[in-house]
Amino acid sequence: VGGRTDIPQGTLALMVLRTLETLGPLHGYGIARRIEQTSGESLTLNYGTLYPALLKLEQEGFIASEWGVSENNRKAKFYRLTRAGRKQAEREAREWARTTAMLARFLTPERP
């Protein structure tokens, strides 16, 4: 499937955290949709892979969950960012920024 890539290792967690940071409490489906949209449809994401990642984040205390009702009146489990999660999101974002900046310096061809 040309032009679409698998999701890079270890970035799914950060995407989830960022999504929750921007949009506030959201259910799994909503998070999945948002990640796909934000990536400009350039990611292939099996929505199912999201759930183990959510569980791991919850176990680590970065997000918390509770059952609620969606905008179209369906029962759904909503995830929200905890305070530790907010910090983690910032930290990881910083690290990614640094890493990508560094990589960018390697990859951009030197100007003549």
Partner: protein
């Protein structure tokens, strides 16, 4: 931190699994619904909407699987699964489980109880003694003048002295005997022991003519003072004098020894009760036990050097050399500091208790070994049974390690069950030991340390008996097991070897028991007394403050009169000697008149008796006559009875009857009127230093020789009569101190206690061992019969005689028994040399012992063989063949 939190949550995920599963399912369902709603809104048909959502979600089962793995810990989960499976397996075979658990529990429980005993006896420091490692014993200082001389000159050592005694608390019917220690005032300071109520002794207590004081034991305080917290200052009568209670010792404090101590008195102030020899006398040596505490900052070597240097005036003894010159040399070597853990403290049994308990501990370990062998046998049989099951697991892809772990897990589960059952067994055997062991309060036998050891034993036993079978089960070609049910001969041989070992070990235990039982029996046979019908009563009137000989004699006469009136009593007599107890009568020489033996006729025990003495005790007069009332008329005895040994020694070549001897180094003729059999026969004589001679008591008050004991011959068994006699005496004379009334059989038992103890504990272990071996034999044969059922069926179908089949099975059992008995006899013979010192008149290698032990084992073993043999002969050939 985060990782730990996650780990805990994942562990937590192991519970509530069903609920979490449901929640996940609901969450995924809601996810799909939301997606479907969106798709519908985008204009898809319902079917299409659903399919697209499911497609987008990806493989749902893999998500669930990943989620589950993340939700819990897969390793632990597998383990838990195995545990659950193992538990179910054990529950499905309740007979096997019960047998295994009980077998192990018996072995482990017995070992743990014995460990508890050894721990209490040998390893644990004496309670309430501060820093016991710095306390030493100095055997070379054994009289008061030397103690006093050294005490103030040492800096590296603070000395204290003590003696042991028995005193009476109170008088009349309420009087009780106390085991007391008479000590120097600094005793408690040196031990570092603080009373829980009141105070310890102080130097100020110890003034000449001061008021006697006492520190009582915690048990005495509870039992006789109603645990009254205001007890300090109250007055009690001890040993004929009023004492002021100054303090109560902490619970379970028993000085440095193993025996109970009920009260502590001051050597100097309670001289009468303590029977303290005159303090200024140097000679009379050996009555004081000297201990000391090494001063902080001093090493044992420094303290030793100091005391050796300070020892300038050792006790000396002067002897005449063969050439006539005099030689003076010290009685003892230079002082040495010995650790108190040597445990030679206290009276009597001390040392042999240590050795005996080590042997009994060994017996318990043997029992544990048997139990392990038994269980290993059971498990390996079971492993054969489960070959198919295990083979299937291996073929289905379970790793060998997983199967091995599973089998071990099963054993650990058994070990866990076993440990809880073993606790019960240990508590029970512990209570038994407590009742039997001739030492004081052993404290808590199920000490945490003991429980830990028990757990270790159980785990070890479970693993040991499980590893080999588990290895066997997982080794080899799994597919081969699946194809046929071949009997593995190597494995059977191993199982048989285990059984032979069990039989052999059981035989060793039984042989040990028999040897100890023989010792007890021999001991009783070596006493001339009629043990079953004699009761002895004694009151230590001198220690209770009676000084006048006539008064003491009158008191005993009163006791004699009271007792004679009782209907249970056949006859009664007075005597000076403790029959079997620690003290001997006074010792003097008996010389044939006109002879001058080299040793002056030394040394024979003088026993003054009243006329009925011999008939009351059941001692035969082998020649001549017993005393008559006429013999008691004079203050100086005119008649004498020698025991056989003495008669032979004094009159090697003549008939003693009617001959004159002199005693007390007086020239008067005392006529030999009779010869009695020796109180102790054969080998027991070496336990008694002197042969005895008897003279009649004179009229009351005519001499210093006073009665010390009343012996009573009863019509009813002595044990039941003793209580009646005791109350008759105690109520007759309210001013008497404690009167001890005991059947002399009990007194004999006291002396035979180490043998009785050995016999009962080893007997218990031996009985259990035999039972285990028999059960093991039964299980093995029954199993082999089951394995061979097709073969047996075939034989029967071909016309074999059922009785021959039975014999075939029986033969297997008999071979095991025979081999085991031989091996056991060899082992017991090898060991017997070492135990001999603990026995009485039992020769190592006594054939009758092994014969008896062998018979017992054989009988029990045979009982285990018969049932399987019978079952084998009753196999229904048709059924057996069809099953194949």
């Amino acid at each position: 931190m985060r990782t730990l939190r996650a780990l805990l949550l994942r562990l937590g995920g192991l519970v509530w699994r069903a609920r979490r599963e449901r929640e996940l399912a609901a969450e995924l369902e809601s996810h799909l619904q939301l997606h479907i709603d969106d798709n519908l809104r985008a204009g898809m048909s319902p079917d299409e909407a659903r399919r697209a959502a499911i497609l987008k979600f990806g493989p749902i089962e893999r998500t669930k699987e990943e989620w589950r793995d993340r939700g819990t810990l897969p390793v632990v989960e597998a383990l838990l699964q195995d545990v659950r499976y193992a538990a179910r397996g054990l529950a499905r075979r309740p007979g096997f489980t019960l047998l295994t658990v009980c077998t192990l529990a018996i072995g482990v429980g017995a070992s743990a109880a014995m460990f508890g005993l050894l721990d209490a006896l040998l390893l644990r420091p004496p309670p309430h003694v501060h820093d016991p490692d710095r306390i030493v014993r100095i055997d070379e200082i054994s009289n008061y003048p030397r103690y006093a001389d050294m005490k103030d000159r040492l800096h590296g050592l603070e000395l204290a002295g003590l003696t042991q005694t028995r005193v009476s608390l109170g008088t009349g019917p309420g009087a009780v005997p106390l085991q007391a220690q008479c000590v120097t005032p600094n005793y408690f300071t040196v031990l570092g022991t603080r009373p829980v109520i009141g105070r310890a002794f102080e130097a100020a207590d110890d003034v000449p003519g001061g008021e006697p004081v006492v520190v009582i034991a915690h048990t005495v305080w509870q039992r006789h003072f109603d645990a009254n917290p205001g007890v300090a200052g109250s007055r009690v009568r001890i040993g004929g004098r009023d004492h002021t209670v100054v303090g109560v010792a902490p619970p379970r404090f028993r000085s440095l020894g193993l025996q109970t101590v009920d009260a502590w008195l001051l050597l100097t102030l309670s001289a009468e009760a303590c029977a303290t020899p005159p303090l200024h006398l140097r000679a009379s040596g050996g009555w004081l036990i000297t201990i000391g505490r090494i001063t902080d900052g001093w090493t044992r070597e420094q303290a030793t050097a100091e005391i050796v240097a300070a020892d300038t005036s050792p006790d000396t003894i002067t002897t005449r050399r063969p050439d006539g010159t005099l030689e003076t040399r010290p009685v003892t070597g230079p002082p040495r500091l010995r650790p108190i853990r040597d445990r030679e403290f206290g009276s009597g049994a001390g040392q042999s208790v240590d050795r005996l308990s080590l042997w009994l501990g060994g017996g318990a370990m043997v029992l544990l070994l048997i139990a392990c062998a038994n269980v290993a046998g059971l498990l390996s049989m079971r492993a054969v049974d489960r070959r198919r099951e295990i083979a299937i697991r291996l073929q289905l892809g379970a790793g060998r390690r997983r199967v091995f772990t599973f089998l071990l897990l099963e054993n650990l589960l058994i070990a866990l069950l076993c440990a809880s059952a073993a606790l019960l067994v240990a508590a029970w055997i512990g209570a038994l030991l407590r009742a039997f062991f001739p030492v004081a309060d052993l404290g808590e036998l199920l000490h945490p340390r003991t429980v830990a050891v028990l757990g270790a034993f159980a785990g070890l036993a479970g693993i040991l008996s499980g590893v080999v079978p588990a290895m066997q089960a997982t080794r080899g070609d799994a597919a081969a097991h699946l194809r046929t049910g071949t009997v593995l001969h190597g494995r059977r041989r191993a199982a048989h070897a285990l059984l032979v070992a069990q039989v052999a070990l059981a035989l060793v235990l039984i042989a040990g028991t028999t040897a100890f039982t023989e010792s007890v029996r021999n001991f009783r046979l070596h006493l001339a007394y009629d043990l079953d019908h004699v009761v002895a009563a004694s009151a230590d009137l001198r220690r209770a403050g009676y000084r006048d000989a006539a008064e003491i004699a009158a008191r005993y006469d009163l006791m004699l009169e009271r007792v004679r009136q009782l209907p249970e009593v056949e006859s009664a007599a007075l005597t000076t000697a403790n029959l079997l107890g620690e003290r001997r009568g006074s010792v003097t020489g008996v010389v044939r008149q006109g002879h001058q033996p080299e040793d002056g006729g030394c040394c024979h025990a003088l026993v003054a008796v009243s006329p009925d003495y011999f008939s009351t005790l059941g001692i035969r007069i082998v020649k001549g006559r017993a005393f008559t009332p006429a013999d008691t008329a004079t203050a100086q005895p005119t008649a004498i009875i020698l025991d056989e040994d003495l008669a032979r020694a004094v009159f090697p070549d003549a008939d003693p009857i009617g001959q004159c001897v002199s005693i007390f180094f007086r020239p008067d003729c005392v006529m030999v009127t009779g010869i009695s059999e020796s109180a102790r026969r054969g080998a027991l004589r070496r336990l008694q230093l002197d042969s005895q001679f008897f003279v009649p008591f004179g009229p009351p008050g005519s001499s210093d020789v006073v009665p010390e004991m009343l012996v009573v011959r009863t019509r009813t068994p002595s044990r039941t009569a003793a209580a009646t006699i005791a109350s008759a005496i105690r109520h007759a004379a309210p001013d008497l101190p404690y009167v001890q009334v005991r059947p002399i059989a009990d007194m004999a038992d006291d002396e035979a206690q180490s043998w009785r103890l050995g016999a009962s504990i080893l007997g218990l272990f031996g009985g259990l061992a035999v039972a285990l071996a028999a059960i093991g034999l039964y299980a093995a044969l029954a199993f082999s019969v089951r394995q061979r059922t097709p073969e047996i069926g075939l034989r029967l179908a071909l016309g074999a005689d059922p009785s021959r089949i039975a014999r075939m099975v029986l033969r297997d059992g008999l071979v095991i028994l025979a081999l085991g008995t031989m091996a056991g006899t060899a082992a017991a013979l090898a060991l017997s040399r070492y135990v001999e010192a603990l026995l009485f008149e039992v020769v190592s290698g006594d054939v009758s012992i092994f014969l008896a032990a062998g018979l017992i084992i054989f009988a029990a073993g045979l009982a285990g063989c018969v049932l399987p043999a019978l079952r084998a002969s009753r196999v229904d050939p048709a059924l057996a063949l069809r099953a194949e």
